[in-house]
C-alpha cells in the first residue's frame, strides 16, 4: 500500500462524506429549529434517490442537473408534511413524535419496495468512470461533482440563514420561541419552511448520492442511522458540526475499507460515535446544554 493509494482513498471518502454532510445538515436544521427529530430522514433520502433514478432512466437527465428539481419536490413534501402531520405533534411528548415519524418511514420504505422491488438499481452517467488526475492523485469525476454540488447547496443554505429576512426569522424561532411570538413572527409558516428546507437538503443529497452508490429501499434505515451518527458527532443543532461530522464519517468509512474490508465501515462510524460520546458528549462543535 503506497501513500498515493491511501491519499486517493481518503480523498474519495471525504468527497462522499460531503454528500453525507448535506444529508445530515437537513436533519440538523429541522431539529435545531423545530426540536423534532426527523426519524424518516433516510427514507426521504431514498425517495429522492429513486426520483433521481426514475428521471435519469426515463429522460436521461443527469442527477446533477436534476438536483434542483428533486430538492424542490422534497421541499414541497417537507412543507406539507410539517403543516399536515408534524405540526400538531410539535408540543407533544417525544415518543409520540417518534412513533409518527417512524410510521412515515415505514410507509416510505415499503412503498418504495412495492414499486421498485428489493433489487439494487443504479444511475450510470456517461462520465461515470472518468477521473481527474492531479499530480499523483486520481479523483473520481462523479465524486468530485457530487461533493462540489453538496458544498454549493450547503453554502447557499448557510447564506440564506445569515442574510435573508426569512432566514433570520427562522433563526429567531430557534433562538427564542417566545420572543418570536412577541414580535409577531408566523411560527407555523416558518416551521413548515424549515422542514421544507431540511427536506430539500436531504433531497439534493439523495439525488447526488444516487450517482455514487447502488439504490435499494433497504438503504433508507441505514441512511437515517448514518445521519444521526453524523449529527451526534458534530453536535446536535450545529450546522457546521453536521458538515464536519459528514466529512469525518466519509473518511472513516474509506479508512475501514482500506484497512479491513468495506463491509466493516459501520464499525468505524460507530467506533467514532462512541469515542465522541465518551470524550465530548455534546458533539465536536455542539454547545454544552445548560
Amino acid at each position: 500500500m503506497t501513500w498515493d493509494t491511501i491519499a486517493n482513498i481518503m480523498i474519495g471518502g471525504v468527497l462522499t462524506g460531503l454528500v453525507y454532510a448535506l444529508m445530515a445538515l437537513g436533519l440538523s436544521v429541522i431539529f435545531g429549529v423545530i426540536k423534532v427529530v426527523n426519524f424518516a430522514h433516510g427514507e426521504m433520502m431514498a425517495l429522492a434517490m429513486y426520483a433521481a433514478f426514475v428521471i435519469f432512466s426515463t429522460y436521461g437527465l443527469d442527477p446533477l442537473l436534476a438536483t434542483p428539481i428533486i430538492a424542490g419536490g422534497l421541499f414541497l413534501i417537507g412543507y406539507i408534511m410539517q403543516r399536515a402531520l408534524v405540526a400538531p405533534f410539535v408540543t407533544r411528548p417525544e415518543h409520540e413524535q417518534f412513533i409518527l415519524l417512524l410510521a412515515v418511514a415505514i410507509l416510505l420504505v415499503n412503498g418504495l419496495l412495492l414499486i421498485f422491488g428489493p433489487d439494487a438499481q443504479s444511475v450510470m452517467v456517461e462520465y461515470g468512470f472518468d477521473s481527474f488526475e492531479v499530480g499523483p492523485l486520481i479523483l473520481d469525476k462523479v465524486k468530485v461533482y457530487a461533493a462540489a454540488a453538496s458544498i454549493a447547496v450547503a453554502l447557499s443554505l448557510l447564506l440564506f440563514f445569515k442574510y435573508t429576512r426569512t432566514g433570520k426569522a427562522i433563526r429567531a424561532c430557534s433562538d427564542n420561541l417566545r420572543g418570536a411570538q412577541v414580535v409577531g413572527l408566523n411560527i407555523k409558516n416558518l416551521y413548515a419552511l424549515t422542514f421544507g428546507l431540511g427536506a430539500a437538503c436531504v433531497g439534493a443529497a439523495g439525488c447526488l448520492l444516487s450517482m455514487l452508490v447502488d439504490i435499494t429501499p433497504m438503504l433508507a434505515p441505514e441512511l437515517t442511522l448514518l445521519a444521526f451518527i453524523i449529527v451526534i458527532i458534530g453536535g446536535l443543532g450545529s450546522l457546521s458540526g453536521a458538515l464536519l461530522g459528514g466529512v469525518l464519517i466519509g473518511a472513516s468509512e474509506a479508512l475501514a475499507g482500506l484497512l479491513i474490508t468495506p463491509s466493516m465501515k459501520s464499525l468505524f462510524s460507530f467506533g467514532l460515535l462512541i469515542l465522541v460520546l465518551a470524550i465530548r458528549p455534546q458533539g465536536l462543535l455542539g454547545k454544552r446544554s445548560s
Binding site: K168, R171, D175, N176, G179, Q181, V182, G184, L185, K188
Partner: protein, 234 residues
C-alpha cells in the same frame, strides 16, 4: 383602544383568569397591579394572542381579536415588551431590531423606526453588531423596547419592564415609557413596582387570583387603604 370583556383563561384544569374585564382608552397609560401569580402575565399573553381564552372577547381598535394568533395581533399595532425581555440572544442587536419589523406593519417604515429606536437608545446604535446575549439586563430591556417600536405599534403592553434593573436604569425605562406615551402610544403597564406605576397611570386595575378586584384612577388607588396595605406595605 382596547376593550376586554369577561375573559376566562385555563391552563389545563387550572383557571388563570376569571371574568376579567378591562378598558384601555386611546392615548392613556393603564396600570395593572397585583401579586406574583395573580395572572398579570397570563392576561398580557392572552391579549397578545399567545394564549387562547376559553371565554370572553378582546376588541382592539374596533376589531375583534379574540383567539387570533400573535402575528395577526401584532399586525394590527398591538405591541408587547414581554416579561423577561425575550430578546434573541445569539443574534446581533441589528438583527434583533430587524425581527421587530418582519410584520408588514413594521416593514413599511423600517428605516424611520430604526432611527427612532436608536435615537431613544443611542447605546444600541454603538453596538449594532454585538450579540444581544452579551448585553446587560438594562441594555436588553432597551433592545426589547426598541424591537417593539420597529413594529410601529399603536399600543404597547409592558410586562415588568423594571424587573431586575439597577435603580438608575429603572428611572430611565419609566422615562422612556412616558416619552412614548407623550408621542401618542397607548400604554398598558404591568409592574411589581406598584407605587411608580400607579403614579404614572391615568387608570389602574388590581388583579388578584385571576379576578379583577378593584379599579380606579391611579391616584385613587394610591390612596386606597387596601392597596396601600397589600402592595405598598404602608
Amino acid at each position: 383602544m382596547l376593550k376586554v370583556e369577561n375573559l376566562h383563561l385555563y391552563y389545563g384544569d387550572a383557571q388563570a383568569l376569571s371574568d376579567v374585564s378591562l378598558n384601555v382608552p386611546d392615548g392613556e397609560i393603564v396600570a395593572i397591579v397585583g401579586a406574583n401569580g395573580a395572572g398579570k402575565s397570563s392576561l398580557i399573553r392572552t391579549l397578545a394572542g399567545i394564549e387562547k381564552p376559553a371565554q370572553g372577547t378582546i376588541t382592539f381598535d374596533g376589531q375583534d381579536i379574540t383567539g387570533q394568533p400573535s402575528y395577526k395581533v401584532c399586525e394590527l399595532g398591538l405591541g408587547q415588551v414581554a416579561e423577561g425581555r425575550q430578546i434573541f440572544p445569539s443574534m446581533t442587536i441589528k438583527e434583533n431590531l430587524e425581527m421587530g419589523a418582519v410584520i408588514n406593519r413594521g416593514r413599511a417604515h423600517a428605516e424611520r423606526n430604526f432611527e427612532r429606536a436608536t435615537t431613544i437608545f443611542p447605546r444600541l446604535k454603538e453596538r449594532l453588531d454585538q450579540a444581544a446575549g452579551t448585553l446587560s439586563g438594562g441594555e436588553q430591556q432597551m433592545l426589547a423596547i426598541g424591537r417593539c417600536l420597529m413594529g410601529e405599534p399603536k399600543m404597547i403592553m409592558f410586562d415588568e419592564p423594571s424587573l431586575g434593573l439597577a435603580p438608575a436604569l429603572v428611572q430611565e425605562v419609566f422615562q422612556v415609557i412616558h416619552r412614548l406615551n407623550d408621542e401618542g402610544i397607548t400604554v398598558v403597564l404591568v409592574e411589581q413596582n406598584v407605587a411608580v406605576s400607579l403614579k404614572m397611570a391615568n387608570h389602574a386595575y388590581v388583579l388578584e387570583n385571576g379576578h379583577m378586584v378593584m379599579e380606579g384612577t391611579g391616584e385613587s388607588l394610591l390612596n386606597d387603604d387596601r392597596v396601600r396595605q397589600a402592595y405598598l406595605g404602608l
